[in-house]
Symmetry: C2
Subunit: 369 residues, 2 copies
């Protein structure tokens, strides 16, 4: 194999596929990036057996071939080389020379044939969505997935298409994050569970442009994202996602509307009195036109009154401040509404159109502690 | 005690004195910042018994007093409060209320009388230097101090004044970093060893302005820095610093002059092949008009030829790449000169005026490994 690519496109390509390089594996080939040079195209591929990414890079081809190079080393070499054309050449033993200006690196490579190819996936059933929307959907739901080997289902997100509606849902047992968006077209129904890791890696690669599209293909076991010059293939999580329909109702006893930034800053301030280990709740006391926010810990206490618009009954309710902060951070509205029933029932933070719904379980608290 | 200060000046003051707050101590009072309000001045003080810092903050005084507050908590509270005036008020039991707009924090304080005051130091023998120069001197020498409890002397820097010359020297057994600067005046001789930690904390506080001055006072056991509204007092390291005079000579067999940035980038690139654990040397082979830089490790090999101006004999010599990088990073010249005698003798990186001298011991290497 012999190619020459501008540093910038090589760096971009390696950076993209690196997201699918296995970080903990006993198989060295999974720590590699595959360079495939054939049919006048230079393709980079990485595959950790759950997630696979393939991207095309610009460059000049002198000789076809397949070569696997250690992802970390090749990334560091490219990153530190001058901003100029980089020549990559391998010999029959896969020993690889990388030349840029006067710098010459020689590193061992591996036969590309050892590499585990991406599964070839039927690309029939698909939807189209903008990069911007997909990136936002992930940002606004990913935080309530659970990074826990023992609970596969909670480590993923429900992705559901019905008609022209796309819904994404994540939950961790204490809260639910849900986003609904309208698609530009009607599609056949889809209901799958995508690994959280896939979504979080995808969102790092997406440029997030509003006028750039992503095609998403679905099969029984896989989801495929196609955008720019990149293809991402991921296994799905098997099984059925939690039924959340009975949670989705509009009942409430108290509705509080408050400036989002003020509420977020206030809770964020209060958490400085909370050490990781002792989980102190934040207590909200809602009365006419005012919401008192209080937190007490061994380090001290904080209280602050926020102006609100209230309808319904007064209420006193406690929350894990972290959960409120996570939800408030990803909401872009200037004002948010909290819907509550009583101090034992979940609180709903949602907009009028239900384009987002964050459901947070309250915690019990002792008023005097 | 009762004061009101703008958030910005309080935050700046707390940030400055925090550098002298003890991070590992069994005495809670050493984790505190002392607020002293008397004679129409609000002073913040911190003191870890080695290093003490005192700074004056702007504000309105309602009631004099002395109060010690946990440094981390008060810093976090101030940082997270809105950008407005902050009222701090303590009662007889030192319970302290911090109010900003509608946010109210209550935290426990401590009696200011428990606090260990800064030693009062005679301020007779002093020199004056610009903040810029002092900050540069520290940056350009601090990296070769040794952070090691077992070798106090190497954890400090020599500070030597003779006539109108100020010299700072640090060394760690493998290398020496030395800077000489001219002062604007003649001063009586001084020769002391300042803890590296003091210098590194000072350099974080210095704004580094060229037209702002620092007065440095010396006593037998202490050094005092005065600048802006801040006083820093530090203990000295007792004992005599290493004699380095016999190292300071101008002999050489080979002089190499090279573009600093090219050399630095080249060595920096090579180090990506070095894992922390295996210490592979970088090998320089100097011949007519060219210096070959090579590094070989289990991960691969790199070589690069740099254009140089050479006088004297050819040489092949190996170094710990880290030591070269540290020195080259802090040199501001476009070109640097390396003076070498043979592959066993230290290499000198210095300018014509000896305003800086970096002495680096070479390492042995196996040409074929």
């Amino acid at each position: 194999m012999k190619i020459s690519c501008p540093k910038s496109s090589l760096l971009k390509g390696v950076n993209i596929v690196s997201k699918a390089v296995s970080s903990k594996t006993t198989m060295p080939i999974l720590e590699c990036i595959l360079f495939t040079v054939e049919n006048n195209v230079i393709t980079l591929t990485a595959n950790d057996m759950e997630l696979g990414i393939e991207t095309i890079v610009d460059g000049t081809i002198y000789e076809d071939g397949k070569l696997a190079l250690d992802a970390k080393i090749i990334f560091e070499i490219i990153r530190k080389l001058p901003d100029n054309d980089i020549l990559i050449e391998s010999d029959a033993a896969c020993s690889t020379t990388i030349v840029c200006e006067k710098a010459v690196f020689t590193i061992p490579g591996r036969d590309g044939e050892e590499f585990a190819y991406l599964p070839s996936v039927e690309t029939e059933n698909k939807i189209i969505i903008s990069q911007f929307t997909l990136k936002e959907l992930i940002r606004q739901t990913i935080f309530s997935t659970l990074d826990n080997e023992n609970n596969k289902m909670m480590s993923g997100e429900l992705l559901e298409v019905s008609g022209d509606e796309l819904r994404m849902v994540s939950l961790d047992g204490h809260r639910v994050s849900l986003r609904n968006v309208k698609l530009n077209d009607n599609y056949p129904p889809v209901k799958i569970v995508v690994p959280g890791k896939t979504l979080s890696e995808i969102s790092k690669i997406l440029t997030g442009e509003a006028d750039s599209e992503v095609s998403i293909f679905f099969t029984k076991n896989h989801i495929v994202f196609e955008f720019d010059n990149t293809v991402v293939v991921s296994r799905l999580i098997e099984g059925e996602f939690y039924k959340i329909s009975q949670l989705l109702h509009d009942d409430y006893e108290t509705k509080v509307t408050v400036n989002k930034k003020e509420l977020l800053n206030c809770i964020d301030r209060a958490t400085l009195l909370v050490k990781e280990s002792d989980k102190k709740p934040i207590i909200m006391t809602v009365s006419e036109e005012e919401m008192k926010i209080q937190l007490k810990s061994t380090m001290g206490s904080m209280n602050e009154d926020l102006m609100i618009t209230k309808s319904g009954s007064d209420i006193m309710i406690g929350f894990n401040p972290r959960f409120l902060i996570d939800a408030l951070r990803v909401i872009d509205d200037e004002e948010v509404s909290l819907y509550m029933i009583n101090s034992k029932s979940p609180c709903y933070i949602r907009d009028e159109e239900n384009s987002y719904i964050y459901i947070i379980l309250p915690v019990t608290f002792n008023v005097n502690s």
